[in-house]
Structure formats: C-alpha cells, structure tokens
C-alpha cells in the first residue's frame, strides 16, 4: 500500500532549539497538509499545499513556524525557536482532489517533546 512517510517518529529537544519535521507524500498526490494533534485541541490544521504552492497557513504561528515544499516528494515543517507549548504529535497527510470530495492519507506522525 502507498504510504505517507514522516521523519523523525519521535523528537525530544530543548526549548529554543530548531526542529525540522519531514514528510514524503504519496506519489501522485498533489495536496499536502500539516496537522497538530493534542488532547485538548484535537487535530488542528496548520498549513496545506497544492501542487507545492502554499494555499493556507492561517493555522500556524507565523513568528516561529514555517512550512515549505521544496519538491513534490518532500514537505517540511520547521519550528524556530521551539517552546514547551509546541509539544504535540504533528501529522502530515496527502490527498488528490479528483472529483471533489476526497479523503486524506495520514502519516504515522512525529511526536515532539520540547523540554
């Protein structure tokens, strides 16, 4: 089965350090999403791209978060500087909007702990 691959699976870092999370979407999917999941807030949409162009990053704290898609096989989410409140599981998902409504395929997530 085709998969969305996220690395690393786990990351523990100190407050103030830079964190980079990577995602390889499913080949042929032209839409990529970044979500953050916490117990309190559930799944929150941070940003998404279509055909590598950023469409919406309104869910992302702009001062410290950045999302890019340097090529069709790689999406990155960067936090600089990281803070303890950024601790969460970050998911990447990809999809292909043929015919309108469609589902996403999620990766296994990056569990981030900022101490």
């Amino acid at each position: 089965d085709a998969r969305v691959t996220q690395t690393p699976r786990h990351k523990v870092t100190e407050m103030g350090q830079e964190v980079t999370m990577r995602c390889q979407p499913i080949l042929g999917h032209n839409t990529v999403f970044w979500y953050r999941q916490t117990m309190m807030q559930g799944l929150e949409l941070l940003a998404y791209f279509r055909n590598r162009a950023p469409l919406d990053d309104s869910g992302m704290p702009k001062d410290r978060f950045s999302a890019e898609m340097p090529d069709a096989t790689l999406a990155t989410l960067k936090i600089q500087p990281s803070e303890p409140r950024d601790s969460a599981v970050y998911f990447c998902a990809s999809g292909s909007p043929r015919g309108g409504n469609y589902g996403y395929t999620f990766g296994s997530g990056t569990r981030l702990t900022v101490v």
Binding site: V4, Y48, R50, L55, D56, G100, N101, Y104, F106, G109
Partner: protein, 113 residues
C-alpha cells in the same frame, strides 16, 4: 469557524455490545468522513458520505449522513476488541483548490474482551 462536536467523548463497552457515536455541527458540509486512529498511528479513512440521508455500511459499521448534511452517526454492531480506537469525524468544505477538512475531537472507544 466551522466546528464539529463529537459525542460521547469516551465510551467503554463489552465485546458483543452495540454502540452509536455522533458528530454534530451547525454548519453544512459538502462531505463527511469518518476515520479511526490507533495509538501511535495516524488516522485511517473509513468512509466518505456526500449525499444528505446517505447510509453506508462497512461490515459491522454503519455510517449515516444527516438529511441537512450537518451531522452524522456511526453505529457499530457486535463490537469487538479490534474496534478499539479513536473515531474522528471530519467535514469537507470549500471547492476546488479551497477544499479542506475540519476534524472533530473524536470519540475514544474501548471494547473490553
């Protein structure tokens, strides 16, 4: 802001019991999806419903989209321990390049042997 409220938040039942979980909103969605998430993994799509009143069945799972396309339910018959997980509903909105999903916070289901 579109919100999806899921209930109950937690549900613990015995193997063989039936259950229904709900997903409600004041907003109209173009589609409604249900996902199941197991510990340490990402959500996995179970079903997409797009027509008001639509009912879909997936083995022991029955999904229904409300007539007004604002709510949905998931019914599980004769639950099994393998059904344990976080069940998330997600509403689709916007069209074309603006299409995106809004997720509820989920129902955490535990099926005890």
């Amino acid at each position: 802001t579109q919100l999806l409220e899921q209930s109950p938040q937690f549900l613990s039942i015995q193997e063989g019991e039936n259950l229904t979980v709900y997903c409600n909103s004041s907003s109209v969605f173009s589609s409604l999806q249900w996902y199941r998430q197991e510990p340490g993994e990402g959500p996995v799509l179970l079903v997409t419903v797009v027509t008001g009143g639509e009912v879909k069945k997936l083995k022991r799972l029955t999904f229904q989209f409300g007539d007004a396309r604002k709510d949905s339910s998931l019914h599980i018959t004769a639950a099994q321990p393998g059904d344990t997980g976080l069940y998330l509903c997600a509403g689709g909105s916007g069209g074309g390049s603006n299409y995106k999903l809004t997720f509820g916070k989920g129902t955490l289901l535990t099926v005890n042997p």
